[in-house]
Amino acid sequence: MSVAAGPLRLPFERPNVLDLAPLYEILRREAPVTPVTTPVGDPAWLVTRFDEVRALLGDKRLGRSHPEPELASRISTAAVQDGPMGDYETEEADHTRLRRLLTPAFSAKRMRALTEYMQALVDGYLDRLVTEQASAPDGVVDLHAGLALPLPVAVICRLLGVPESDREHFRSLSYRMANYASCGDDAYQAWNEFTEYMRGLVETKRAELCEDVISDLVRAQDEDEEFDYDEMISLCVGLLFAGHETTANRIGLGTLFLLSRREHWEDLTADPAGRVDATVEEIMRLGAPGDLGLLRYAHTDLDIADVTIPRGDAVILSINAANRDQSVYSDAEAFAPDREERSHLGFGHGPHFCIGASLARTELRIVFAALAQRLPSLRLARNMDELEVCTTITGGVTELPVTW
């Protein structure tokens, strides 16, 4: 097999929800920076090798904004990571402000302080699943609906100060927003509805601001005239979206990895506390829902891996492909929590590194340690290939039927 002439079109079909298209291996070897066509038909560069992806994530010559946004390549019809974001002139200052505002609320110390609360939530979900399983005629329960989804939703609601009773509403908006298989402009319609919802919530909260992230942002926006109201609203939408969708996904994928590779599940159940950290990192490395990558635009002409990317071009940095680069990871496609190499790009790299990484890591560690401790005989109730996969840019499964 060799790389076909003419640009390849994203997304590349994958064999199943855990493995990536074999084409990525060829690209890493033969064309680590290669022209592609985005799902909506626009030109872009796809970067697949670890070294280049990591270097470009830390490179200030690329940004999320575009000097002439109306000319920019678009990626998908979803309403997130779909095209340029923010103002070209002020991108760096805006981003610095955003990080400064949010970072303290998601610090490692704050997340550690939430450990007991998260543990109590997980224990509660597992108690309910155990009861449900005992009375289910076939003994099968859905781990997605009963644990993977409600946990991150409850935690992000508490941190942001969003009523949990709104969850059905923002869940369905999130799904529509991230859907790239939607008809027409439904994803944008959902984004607008989400924005409306958030405006309403912010105005209700304004009357009685408390100790939560949305209240902090409202206060900060009030005090800083450079901080635009609409920007604050879309930031709140982004946080609520990023705060549950991604984590729920990784819980689902992690469960699939472990249950389809029984020996690793048994290793974990033998020593949950000792092995959970490494297991979670391996889930983060290989769990690759969605098939695009992180989107940037070149802010100047730049040379990389013998290719010149002209200013204004879209660059898709495939962290999924980079995380399976054989020049960095031995037996890169294998799920191997004991591997030496512990770093990966699952939370990004450089200045945009995931703000929620400590939160997500803490949640994932609690979930997998608790599952291994309480349900050591856990197994999938159906064949992995029969599970429904989301058509959202964040990917993942919509159900996780299990039994024990």
Partner: protein
């Protein structure tokens, strides 16, 4: 083992403080790294080296 951090480079991700809480902390106001123990005991070596590896901007240096 001797540890140094670069507060200018740090983006406040807190991965070091998550990996080795006795050695790294974060400033309350902006999340930037604070080195609590520049010469940590040998039994923390593994945690400290994880912290350095996990740092998304390579702001942590560890010398033997």
């Amino acid at each position: 083992m001797k540890v140094t951090v670069d507060q200018e480079t740090c983006v406040g991700s807190g991965q070091c403080a998550l990996a080795a809480a006795d050695v790294f902390d974060q400033r309350d106001e902006d999340g930037i790294v604070v080195l609590v123990d520049p010469v940590p005991p040998a039994d923390l070596a593994a945690d400290v080296s994880h912290a350095a590896v996990m740092c998304p901007v390579q702001a942590i240096t560890v010398e033997d």
